[in-house]
Amino acid sequence: MEAIDEIVAEFLVESHENLDQLDRDLLELERHPDSRELLASVFRTIHTIKGTSGFLAFHKLEKLTHVGENLLSRLRDGRIALTDSRANALLKMVDSVRSLLRAIEQTGGEGDSDPTELIEVLSSLLEDGTAAVPAQTTAKTAEARQEKAQVPAPSAQEAQVERKPAQAEGTQAQGPRTAPAPAAVAKAAAGGTQPAAGGAQAAGGAAEPQAAPATKSRSGRRRSKNAAQTGTPGKGGPAKSPLGEVLVEAGETTAEDVEIARMEQRLGDERKIGSILVEHGSATPKAVETALETQDTRRSVVDSSVRVDVELLDSLMRLVGELVLARNQLVSRLDDGKESSKDASLARSAQRLSLVTSELQEQIMKTRMQPVDAVWSKMPRVVRDLAKTCGRQVRLDMEGRETELDRSVLEAIKDPLTHLVRNAVDHGIESPEVRKAAGKSAEGLLRLRAYHEAGQVHLEIIDDGAGIDPAKIAAKAIERGLVTQNQLATMTQREIMHLIFLPGFSLAPKITNVSGRGVGMDVVKTRIEAIGGSVDVVSKVGKGSVFRLTIPLTLAIIPALTIGCAGRRYAVPQVSVLELVRLSGEHARGGIELISGAPVYRLRDMLLPLVRLDEQLGLVAMDAGDMPDERGSFIVVLHAEQQRFGLVVDDVLDTQEIVVKPLGRHLKSIPVYAGATMLGDGTVVLILDVATLARRSNVLANASGVATVENEGTGETTEPVLVVEVASGRRAAIPLEMVTRLEEIKPSSIERVGGREVVQYRGHIMPLVRLSTLLGAYGEAASEDEGVQLVVYTRGERSVGFAVDRILDIATERAGTRSDIDDHALVGSIVVGERVVELLDVESAVLSADPNFYSGVRVENTAEFEEMPV
């Protein structure tokens, strides 16, 4: 019995693989209905499943695949054409086969599902027109006269008649199948099933005409062949072209001779099939050699690989995780050890161990890597079926199939990805009529892209459909009570788009069986974030949408930076770390500036928003003001969701490989932690979730989406601006990228040089521009003892200071709100929050202070000015 179980298990694994191939082939076939090659491949797959299922007494499966095989053989011979309904029926057959296999896997039996109806549909499709109906009737009558199974069938229609009795006999032959040795079973079964096999042959008809008058022993071997295939791991699958097949294809030998040779192998002959054939004189040595060469390219992958249980890989991964921990402990112990206790040879061994561990870890990670295609390969079918249901025409384009991910990650993204693809077809891509009306091609394009970048995998689902209208989202969100009008007013374009990820949100006007029930997008987001990834969406009405998933390569072991904060250690995934900045001496004081209470740091002429970790963890009160000197002496520059920000910490310790352990249910709800790990000394350390930190700090809310939106070229940019008060009540906005530094100077330090105001600034003379004067606003002059607020703009050696009354805030310009009021030194006006703010034309403002400002530096800065909103 055990041998049978093993055969069944092999059969299941192999059949599942074959079915995936079948799905792909059938879809491909729809596009190239005349490809005999594809048809032959599909036919072989079904044939193998049919053969084995008969042998293993899975009769429903056998019946079903048998009819499918008939249909396929007629298609292959060009007797009937592949119509839509035939393709549909064949795909349904694949589904049905799959569900039968699943039932077998779970229960050991075929379950209650009844494929009879489908069998009838398939049979009815055997003929063009109505000819199938009488065939059906005769088949039923024929069932009564079971013994009358005759082998050769003159016409296909009669073959159909003979098939049923043949199968009935097959059932009777079930008895001996439980015998222990599979080979013996094959033999015993051969006697009983001979008519069945013959029937199948006849039905297969033109497939192998020479095999139709099969002798008893021959059909026995046919069975054995199938048994042998399923019993040999990695060798089954007709697509893999065993040597025998290659020889037959080349016309060097006959299928029968190959099967005889296989039979002998099965009975214990350990020689290669080639040698057996040569010995029998069925093939020449030269032919075998040539065949081997032909086959070489195709078989190398198959023969050099072994099927491994996924659980084994998982447990290997766990063990390696433990090994890495133990290694870390050993190494840290050795590092801490006193000089006297250090043992040179122990240190050497430890180092070796360390190296080997790293290597082992890397290799085992590799064993778990699978191409994203493992998930994508299901998509053509999903898209096809859905497109048919929704009346869409969709072309699916996949790019980067070979991109590899850890299988645990792959498993986790399967459902979210499918959901996004379904969404794109159902909601994204419009019906052909609408598309034509909009001047697009009737066929929508759905692109899946995958690529590696910065230690992460990026997956994009791009459609050229209707896009998502933020106004509609906003209206819907308010209607469903997910946000208030007030909240909405302060939201950026990107935040509004992200409302679609809220639970209970749905844009679908009516609920279909495909989507529109308001479940899904939130699940997509939750699932992706659960594995440490992120989801982003960019859309342009009328042009299409892009959903971008950013996913870690692996979940188990990651390099991480350990940092210190308030006397505790924390880990930050290394992939998020861009650089480290040490704040020392004067820098610690002067480096961090406050803009409207929000700390920023000037890093190489860019303002970096800051987040204090101690604040975020609730270890000090928010806005506690100045930190003590020993605190906050490092900035870890991080990026999350395409945004840079600085995390202020007390100490930066080291980088090491950490094993990510999930947090227990009590702590899962605290979003700032991604998990926990153990350091070399056994201390448990929390892993910080960088994306959450970024969100918490409102960094993303303030300065969001710049990269995202611009990269997609969708036009409507949202960019962060510095809002200042120019004169009492009048506000202006300066693009944040134009702001180098904020200063406060004493009015007394302002000097006049030839009608211009200047200050001495960092060893240079810096011209001042009073924005109030420039913009023609007149307010009260600042009193003498009050400082003057300067916004400093620097390019190269030159700087210009804009004097303003007050610095108010960093805000994000709302897309689409810019109006082109062409005024002196203004680019236009934008809406920030709910107020209209004038947007400063920095270039002309600078030139008004220093007409020669750009003359020296213009060339290398061209690029920056091209981005200026003009």
Partner: protein, 146 residues
């Protein structure tokens, strides 16, 4: 539930079904978890596994311990996830099938009452039987979102 694993917290003697107790360990470093509810004492490393430790004192609404004695971890396994309960001192395993059992007196604070199954009246003192599942059911929804 005829055998209870007992332990002391403050002046009370608590007990939990002996089958729920995986092990008792005197540990060790506890890593506090900022932003978690006060009942969560932190995380411990139990032979390579990260476990959440619940401070039974805080959980039962008792004042913090005086002195600096290391607490004992009673590792309790409910729903397949082991969780550590921090207690002052471990007691023995008591056979309670012959001990009279009473409902938790209604005078006990309602919040605490839900965590108790009842009380065994031992000759010299009360043994409070803990509802392990309820005790572990902390901080699941209401962790402070700062």
């Amino acid at each position: 539930m005829s055998q209870l694993s007992t332990f002391h917290v403050g002046k009370y003697l608590f007990g939990v079904d002996v089958f729920l107790v995986q092990e008792v360990v005197r540990l060790q470093m506890i890593t506090p978890v900022p932003l978690a509810t006060p009942e969560i004492a932190g995380l411990i490393n139990l032979r390579g596994e990260v476990l959440t430790a619940i401070d039974l004192r805080t959980r039962m609404g008792l004042p913090p311990a005086e002195g600096t004695r290391e607490p004992v971890n009673v590792v309790v396994r409910v729903d397949e996830e082991p969780v550590s309960l921090l207690v002052d001192e471990i007691g023995g395993v008591l056979e309670v099938s012959q001990v009279p059992f009473e409902q938790t007196p209604s005078t006990v604070d309602e919040k605490v009452r839900d965590l108790l199954l009842g009380a065994y009246t031992l000759p010299d003192r009360l043994l409070l039987a803990l509802n392990a599942r309820a005790v572990l059911d902390v901080g699941l929804e209401n962790s402070r979102a700062a």
